[in-house]
């Protein structure tokens, strides 16, 4: 089960290139994102550009701020196959993934990270994905799949997902793009 709420940018206001003031599931920590429809055109990613196969109707962009940051705090399950007892026994792994990209040859980018935290907020684990460079996109407008997985450290009680969009150089539009943000937990059974 994907623990990230609205990781696909499908909920809440948006659809155009204008920044929005709120995004369901996310706290806007810096700047203001835009949730853009793949059908918008105007040089933004389209349904035909490289991106998630099941991409829904919209994706995240950095709006018009030089730096836009979205934060989502996730409480890890207390019980069950990926609950605290299993985490503390070292029998849970996480997988984080997202499609990250940008516009043509520009170096605007999106970075996705997840920090697993102890009950007091101290970081215990970290995975950082992206940003994807223009070279990695072969110089074309695209979203590229990025993924990492690792053990959930014993003592972890929460995860903070951070999605940062950065604009390079001049211009107005922050053309870091992201979609299909996902964080899942997996029980490993007896294997620590």
């Amino acid at each position: 089960m994907n623990l990230v709420v609205n990781g696909d940018a499908e909920s809440g206001p948006g659809g155009g290139a204008d920044p929005v003031e709120a995004v369901p599931g996310w706290r806007i920590a810096q700047g203001a994102p835009a949730l853009i429809a793949y059908s918008l055109g105007g040089g933004y990613p389209t349904p035909d550009d490289p991106g998630p196969a099941a991409r829904g109707s919209r994706f995240f962009s950095g709006g018009t701020s030089a730096r836009t940051a979205l934060v989502q705090d996730i409480e890890l399950p207390a019980r069950g196959a990926t609950g605290r007892r299993e985490v503390d026994a070292g029998r849970v792994r996480y997988a984080v993934s997202g499609w990250l990209g940008g516009y043509a040859g520009q170096e605007d980018g999106a970075r996705l990270s997840v920090e697993f935290r102890a009950a007091d907020g101290t970081p215990l684990a970290l995975s950082v994905l992206g940003p994807v460079s223009a070279a990695e996109r072969l110089g074309r407008t695209a979203l590229v799949e990025c993924a990492a997985e690792a053990a959930v450290p014993p003592g972890a009680r929460g995860a903070r997902v951070l999605l940062v969009f950065t604009r390079s150089g001049g211009g107005t539009s922050n053309d870091g793009y992201a979609d299909a943000v996902s964080l899942t937990l997996h029980a490993t059974g007896g294997r620590p």
Binding site: A29, Q30, A66, R67, A69, V71, G90, G102, Q106, E107, D108, G109, R111, S113, E115, F116, R117, A118, D120, G121, T122, P123, L124, A125, L126, S127, V128, G130, P131, V132, S133, A134, A150, A151, P153, P154, G155, A156, R160, L162, V164, T166, R167, S168, G169
Partner: protein, 521 residues
């Protein structure tokens, strides 16, 4: 065969093969690299706690403890399980017998097997000792101290900055470890990102490990290389540290915003490696790694309010009409802090020079990477200090590799504008300064071009110690004799005082005759 360091260096230099002799050259395994590093003067604590122990961000009831498991310190990744259980102990005695707190935590490969533990429930103004155990091994014992509460008669602390590995040994840190301090502030340039400099041993005592660092693995190895100087580990183990950073933790003169995707990736790698190697508390902020939140306000009793600034993460490009060195949010936060400041000494940990520094010719500025590149914001902040009636402001600065004492004026171009504080810019630990000839020529010229400049000395290296009482703030400039000597003796070059309630500094009459390249008075 046991290698003799000096003979090895000489032979390698003669053969033009320092890049082979010096550790971490391409092709060496981490173990071989470490062996070579040790042959050339580096050393490490016993594995897996090779990089030592540290504490940071002391508060009255809490302190952060740090270590990192790195059996092979010069490897990008450790051959360890993905997570390793680490036991920690805090006690009232150096033998860790009177235990007051203990527990376990997990060291994750994703964070370089670093360990950060927030210890709560401590008592204010007390020394504590701490240690770690993992993989059947025990770390060295570190000492820390919690912040006091209420009225106190004195605080004693130090700053250190700019410690280029190749430019000298860390005799300054050796001395810091031996000072009876409450805490240490590092003002940045803890590591340098560039490649090898050559000239060992004629010009440099040692060298970097390879080319310019770019990746998380590169930055990890560079931090580990720097911690191969035992004096740095001693200073960390002796006192709690507060931390800020400057540019070289990432790359020279960078701005935290505006870079393209390759730079942002590099910045994230550098920031993560910095976090992995520092006693930094990052559990209270609104953001998350790999963007650690550096700026904070801390109290040392009712005597001192410490404001730690981050002048890199949120800055714009230099020399823009609406440029920012603080970023919008940090500036608002700083101004709010000024508005509600208590009656205390107000100390800003400021990585890069706040005061105006016109070039010796008087036209233009020496460097606009410092606050001189953000004129409108400086006027706004200092105007706010004045309008808010903030008194007893002392700004502590690094970066310049030379010592300056400046009057802080609201408008530096108007010598009659209000005097709102004093800035002490400290000598570097090792990073090279201008030549003695340059300093002798340009010290007086800088003094003439900058009427707020009171003192300049650029021929020495060391650190500053601050002795703070309710009545007086004294800055003792400690200098080492020789950067090439790991155990170089330390002396006090001079002392400046600031009296409570009286803006402006004055030099102690007992040291006023000490060498300097400029004195206004």
């Amino acid at each position: 065969m046991k290698l003799n360091r000096r003979d090895l260096l000489k032979a390698a230099a003669a053969a033009g093969a320092l890049n082979v002799a010096w550790p971490l050259a391409v092709g060496l395994t981490p173990a071989e690299a470490r062996e070579a590093a040790e042959a050339l003067g580096a050393d490490y604590d016993p594995a897996p706690f090779t990089l030592g122990v540290a504490s940071g961000d002391p508060q009255p009831y809490s302190v952060l403890l740090w270590t990192r498991l790195a059996p092979e310190p010069l490897a990008a990744e450790q051959r360890l399980p993905e997570t390793v259980e680490v036991r920690w102990t805090v006690a009232e005695d150096p033998r860790l017998r009177r235990v007051v707190a203990e527990g376990t935590t997990a060291a994750s490969a994703t964070l370089g097997h670093s360990v950060h533990i927030v210890v709560e429930g401590l008592r204010p103004g007390r020394h504590y000792w701490y240690g770690f155990r993992a993989l059947g091994k025990t770390s060295r014992v570190g000492r820390t101290k919690t912040a006091p509460t209420g009225r106190i008669g004195k605080a004693l602390f130090a700053t250190a900055n700019c410690q280029a590995f190749h430019d000298g040994y860390y005799a300054a840190h050796r001395a810091i470890a031996r000072e009876n301090l409450d805490f240490v502030i590092h003002l940045g340039d803890y590591i340098y990102e560039h490649g090898q400099v050559g000239g060992v041993p004629e010009s440099h005592v040692r060298d970097h490990d390879g080319p310019e660092i770019l990746t998380l693995g590169d930055y990890r190895k560079r931090h580990a290389l720097y911690k191969g100087d035992r004096s740095l580990r001693e200073a960390h183990a002796a006192h709690p540290w507060f931390l800020t950073w400057d540019d070289h933790e990432v790359v020279n003169d960078y701005s935290g915003t505006g870079g393209g995707a390759p730079f942002m990736k590099r910045r994230a790698a550098a920031y993560q490696a910095w976090y992995e190697h520092m006693p930094h508390r990052d559990s209270f902020g609104a953001m998350a790694l790999p963007d650690p939140e550096i700026h904070r306000v801390r109290r040392w009793g009712e005597l001192l309010e410490l404001t730690v600034l981050d002048l890199r993460s949120y800055r714009s490009a230099q020399n823009l009409p609406d440029g920012t060195i603080l970023g919008t949010d940090q500036k608002a936060w700083l101004k709010q802090g000024i508005d509600k400041a208590p009656d205390a000494w107000h100390v800003w940990a400021n990585s890069i020079m706040l005061s105006q520094l016109r070039s010796p010719s008087g036209s233009g500025y020496m460097f606009t990477d410092q606050w001189d590149g953000f004129l409108a914001e400086r006027r706004e902040v200092l105007g706010h200090v004045h309008a808010g009636g903030l008194e007893d402001l002392v700004v502590l600065t690094g970066d310049w590799h030379s010592a300056f004492v400046d009057d802080i004026r609201v408008d530096f171009d108007r010598p009659d504008s209000p005097l709102v504080g004093t800035e002490f810019t400290a000598h570097s630990v090792t990073s090279g300064a201008y030549s003695a000839d340059w300093n002798a020529t340009n010290g007086p010229l800088m003094g003439r071009a900058n009427p707020h400049l009171k003192y300049f000395e650029g021929n020495r290296y060391g650190y500053d110690v601050y002795e703070v009482t309710p009545e007086r703030f004294s800055t003792h400039m400690r200098v080492i004799g020789d950067r090439r000597d790991p155990a170089s003796p330390v002396s006090t070059l001079t002392t400046f005082h600031v009296d409570r309630g009286k803006p402006g500094s004055y030099e102690d009459p007992g040291t006023k005759g000490s060498p300097a390249q400029y004195r206004r008075d």
